[in-house]
């Protein structure tokens, strides 16, 4: 009886959590919806569209019947917003604001609310280019606030910061990597106190942390390479030192990390005693632009600056097919119901059939600049611009 109860509980919890999209590129940072619609045709339609109070590039976070996202407003984008909307109709449930304590200047293409928020299912953490971090519960009660540039006045990038935090266990992992005071840290989710802080290469970096498949390590990418760290302590587990991009972020599939480094380099951690990962292959012709690569159906997908989608073998990186999508993108593609969701900068959303060499199944003209990576739960796609958030039902 007890076993049956436990099994039912686990199933219920799993069902609940699988539908969530808790951080940039999803719960496990693979850009794949955990609970896909079976045999989705790729057709979609606008369920609702909501106005937003400020600029933002961060992806929405989906927790059950709530959608969370951040925005920045004011003449200097000094006002930092966390918004909670109803997933049912897009109506605003609550809004909270704080004031930036760090510098808010950035390139006009980006904004202060560039990073995506993150959640552990209990709290929502907003993080901004000003390196301010705010934590609320899901009802909008403030839990704690930190100002990391207030703490470290040279932790900033005049072009703007964009790395999105991830949450692993009780720790929010935040990369504050720039030309001057450059570090990553783990903040305690309950108190906001610093659990660990490590120095990082002094070079501008817009990539985000990625979680290993077993959840035991977090991969920090920089121009120096990749460092795998223990998310609870910040202790370095292994290092790859052959350089990597500062914009698109690696993707993990199984025990392999596909890193934007010398094209794409596939890394697999060696046995536990080794500090260097095994390099499985390198493929210089795979050149992701701003958008991060994604793995689906045992294939690697990379989009270049011109919107050319390349499908490559996971085994050795060789090209299997290419398809020209319409327009270049800053948003990373995500996988929903086995299809690839691609939004170009002009706001044309394209649903791409990966089983049919990149044929576009359906499109949605959003008619606004879209630079933000979509979020997906089991039933819908969520896309935001500076002005609006759309929910697209997967029909």
């Amino acid at each position: 009886m007890r076993i049956l109860f436990s099994f039912t509980f686990v199933c219920l919890m799993t069902s609940q959590s699988l539908a969530d999209w808790r951080q940039f590129r999803g719960n496990d940072t693979t850009s794949i919806a955990s609970s896909p619609v079976e045999n989705w045709s790729g057709q979609q339609s606008v369920a609702w569209k909501s106005s937003l109070p400020g600029r933002g590039l961060g992806s929405p976070v989906i927790i059950g019947d709530k959608v969370f996202l951040t925005a920045s407003s004011g003449p200097r984008q000094e006002r930092l917003h966390v918004l909670c909307l109803s997933n049912t109709d897009g109506k605003l449930l609550w809004e909270r604001t704080t004031w930036a304590t760090g510098r808010t200047g950035c390139h006009q293409k980006t904004c202060v609310a560039a990073p995506s928020p993150a959640s552990d299912g209990k709290y929502i953490v907003g993080f901004y280019s000003s390196n301010d971090v705010v934590c609320y519960d899901l009802e909008g009660q403030l839990i704690w606030f930190r100002g990391l540039t207030y703490d470290f006045p040279n932790a900033s990038n005049s072009l703007g910061m964009a790395s999105s935090p991830v949450i692993v266990g009780e720790t929010a992992i935040i990369m504050v990597e720039c030309d001057d005071q450059s570090f990553s840290c783990g903040l305690d989710m309950q108190t906001g106190e610093t659990r660990w802080q490590i120095e990082r290469p002094r070079k501008a970096n817009w990539t985000s942390p990625s979680i290993s498949a077993d959840g035991k390590s977090v991969l920090l990418q920089s121009t120096a390479g990749v460092s795998a760290i223990d998310p609870a302590t910040g202790q370095e587990l292994w290092t790859y030192s052959e350089g990597a991009s500062s914009t698109p972020t690696l993707v993990v599939s199984g025990d392999v990390a596909y890193v934007p480094s010398n094209g794409i380099t596939a890394l697999r951690p060696s046995d536990s005693s080794s500090k260097q990962p095994e390099i499985l292959w390198k493929e210089g012709s795979l050149s992701p632009s701003t958008a991060s690569p994604v793995v689906a159906n045992n294939q690697l997908f990379v989009v270049n600056r011109g919107g050319v989608l390349t499908c490559a073998s996971l085994k050795d990186g060789h090209r299997e097919w290419q398809a020209r999508l319409e327009g270049g993108a800053s948003a990373s593609p995500v996988i929903a119901g086995g299809k690839l969701v691609y939004v170009n900068e002009e706001g044309l959303l394209q649903i791409v059939d990966l089983q049919n060499e990149g044929a576009v199944v359906s499109t949605q003209e959003l008619s606004e600049t879209i630079l933000s990576t979509p979020s997906v739960d089991g039933k819908a796609i969520y896309v935001r611009s500076d002005g609006h958030l759309w929910k697209l039902s997967m029909d």
């Binding site: 004011g74 003449p75 200097r76 609550w94 909270r96 604001t97 704080t98 004031w99 304590t101 510098r103 200047g105 950035c106 390139h107 301010d132 705010v134 609320y136 909008g140 009660q141 403030l142 839990i143 704690w144 606030f145 930190r146 100002g147 207030y150 703490d151 006045p153 040279n154 990038n157 005049s158 072009l159 720039c178 030309d179 001057d180 903040l187 309950q190 108190t191 906001g192 106190e193 610093t194 501008a204």
Partner: protein, 369 residues
């Protein structure tokens, strides 16, 4: 002393929160939150206090607003979170204290951010407050409120009869400190043959003495102490990167305040110039230096290092760096170390800065004559 009192109160609250029967007062909760400092210091008490403060009733709203005035920027945001939680519940309950909020808003000595917050919640229950309060805030010390008043004045100028527009635009200009509003007003006045002196309006310093170049090959000069960091001797001559160097005066005529070292001197690479000027203050006072620069730099006033930043060519924005300074009455010496690296891209050639002197609201402070 003040910090000690706060820490003691925070400790007392910590004990109180451990014993639920001893309910902490609003002031005790606020004190625990005001004790929050950088790097997460005093968070353990504050996270308990904020939970209780979040659940307070409408009577706590004004005390929270008042507390924002004596809070550091971190604690201010904690308090704002509590205010918004309480205010949102009070709004639903219909007991948001609008008279008290308005009283707080119109009191100009209150904290600028807290006043803006109070105003935003006031207009949720009393939309007429906007028309009643904003037009009179053109000289308000809160830039967060004054901006709305300037926007209102701009609207009035655009709506005015042609022969009255100039005066309306000038009224708007008097209140404007934000770059976008000032430039919109300046463009309108220029069309009306009343050009605005942006140098004066923003308080840019356009006359500097320069010495250099010193060696910054491979960006190694940032922390090298060259002679101008030890002494300001305007008649001295030192060994520089390419030979002997000495101080020379330069004036920039750029209408938007740019002091372009590369243009005024030579576009050296891997080089450092020092820029020296003085500012005659009519009184001993706190103020702000606001810089825009995409070179690594250091800034000193009267020999004290205020800020150092080692970043190259990541962009240049209005009021990019806000550096607090304390000036004594009379002549104050300002020294800038402006470092250029060796990047060869087109977008990495700037060796320049803008530098203005203003109060904490961004309003220019002119040097005493």
């Amino acid at each position: 002393m003040y910090r000690d009192v706060r820490a003691a109160l925070a400790m007392l609250l910590g004990v109180t929160l451990c014993f639920p029967t001893l309910a902490a007062t609003t002031n005790e909760l606020i004190s625990a939150i005001q004790a929050v400092e950088s790097v997460g210091k005093n968070h353990s008490q504050a996270v308990n206090a904020i939970q209780e403060l979040n659940s307070g009733d409408a009577t706590t709203l004004v005390p929270i607003l008042n507390a924002m005035g004596t809070a550091n920027p971190l604690a201010l945001n904690w308090l704002q979170g509590a205010f918004e939680s309480v205010a949102s519940r009070s709004l639903v309950a219909g007991n948001l204290p609008k008279e008290q909020l308005e009283t707080f808003v119109v009191e100009r000595s209150n904290n600028a951010q807290a006043r803006r917050l109070a105003y935003e919640w006031l207009v949720k229950v009393d939309p007429s407050a906007e028309q009643r309060l904003i037009p009179g805030m053109l000289d308000d010390p809160s830039t967060y409120l004054r901006r709305d008043a300037v926007a209102y004045a701009i609207h009035q100028a655009k709506s005015a009869e042609a022969d009255q527009q100039r005066e309306f635009w000038k009224v708007a200009l008097n209140g404007a400190v934000d770059e976008d509003q000032v430039k919109e007003i300046a463009a309108a006045l220029k069309k009306l043959d009343s050009p605005v002196n942006l140098i004066e309006h923003f308080g840019y310093l356009m006359d500097w003495k320069l010495i250099g170049p010193f060696d910054n090959i491979e960006m190694k000069g940032f922390n090298v102490v060259y002679p101008p960091e030890n002494e300001i001797d305007l008649s001295a001559e030192y060994q520089g990167l390419k030979g002997a160097v000495k101080w020379e005066p330069f004036h920039s005529d750029d209408p938007e305040g740019l002091f372009d070292i590369a243009k005024l001197t030579e576009s050296h690479k891997g080089a450092i110039d020092y820029a020296y000027t003085t500012f005659n203050s009519s009184e001993e006072r706190d103020l702000e230096f606001r810089l825009s620069i995409q070179n690594a730099f250091k800034i000193w006033v009267n020999g004290e290092l205020l800020f150092a930043r080692e970043e190259y060519h990541r962009g240049m924005h209005f009021d990019q760096y806000i550096v607090a300074a304390h000036l004594h009455k009379g002549e104050n010496v300002i020294l800038l170390k402006v470092c250029q690296n060796e990047q060869d891209q087109d977008w990495a050639q700037d060796w320049s800065f803008t530098f203005r002197v203003c109060d904490s609201t961004g309003r220019a402070i002119q040097a005493a004559r």
